[in-house]
Symmetry: C2
Subunit: 161 residues, 2 copies
């Protein structure tokens, strides 16, 4: 796909990498991301897991949250994300829920594994049957839980997404 | 696994379901979760995606963030999560990053799909090769991005996780 990458794409990716570099200096994780809409960077952030005591504060999640706050929407389908590393399953999930239309990434999940991050391990866990996972996961009280979904279905004025 | 479920487990799951029910009333998504440490509920939240304009604000993510803030840590390895629905890939990723030790869930990803949520679709996407995904994902500038990881590796005083 290298042939489809523009000068603009390289500029945005460089901004994401620069945020990752700044994060390392500041004591955060070595990851950065920017979100672009109509040729403009609308949000940019880096990994602040250890700085903020927030395991969900990956660069992509932080940047999605920032972009949504700025644009006052939970739908970023007119936006693209540039991230200095391939999104982990949590961030890829967040990207799908935010409906971002294109993902560009620099480092790979293997590069991340090589410096000690669990991205690749979590990808492997997700593909396993629930009974084969490392973290035990137990189904219970489905009969009571389903009543909430019935209530949701019956609600006339709900905001779907 | 039904035999291993205790009266306490049922109490915590009922609290998660109740948060999900309250959320539907309030106009949020039909999902709730609680996190338990040493027999005490330390955090509980529901899905606020549409209320907060935050696509990452699923019940599990909200509850993990709340628990970490309260306990002042990014490591919840002494905690268990009870969620009214099987975690989506984003939330399962968050649970792994937070190192929660056990997951209990009520509704399944299929139940969620049946009322229009994309959980199951995203699980399928994650298992696909990058080239077969619905959202285009492009690798670029790995040669520049890797320099950040080298910098991270060389840093003596980093906080790893």
């Amino acid at each position: 796909m290298e042939e489809t990458i523009t000068v603009e794409d390289r500029k945005y990716m460089r901004a994401a990498i620069e945020l990752a570099n700044e994060s390392v200096e500041r004591g955060g994780g070595p990851f950065g991301a920017v979100i672009v809409k109509d040729g403009e960077i609308v949000a940019g952030s880096s990994n602040s897991v250890t700085l903020d005591n927030d395991p969900t504060a990956h660069a992509e999640v932080n940047t999605i949250r920032q972009a949504c706050k700025k644009l006052k929407t939970f739908d970023l389908s007119d936006c693209t994300i540039y991230t200095s590393c391939e999104p982990c399953p949590m961030c890829l999930g967040a990207i799908y829920w935010a409906r971002l239309r294109h993902i560009y990434y620099g480092n790979t999940r293997t590069d991340a594994a090589n410096i000690g991050f669990a991205d690749n391990f979590i990808y492997e866990e997700l593909e396993r049957d629930l009974t084969d996972r490392t973290v035990p996961i137990t189904h219970m009280m489905g009969d009571e839980a389903i009543a909430t979904f019935r209530r949701w279905e019956a609600k006339a004025d709900k905001t779907e997404y």
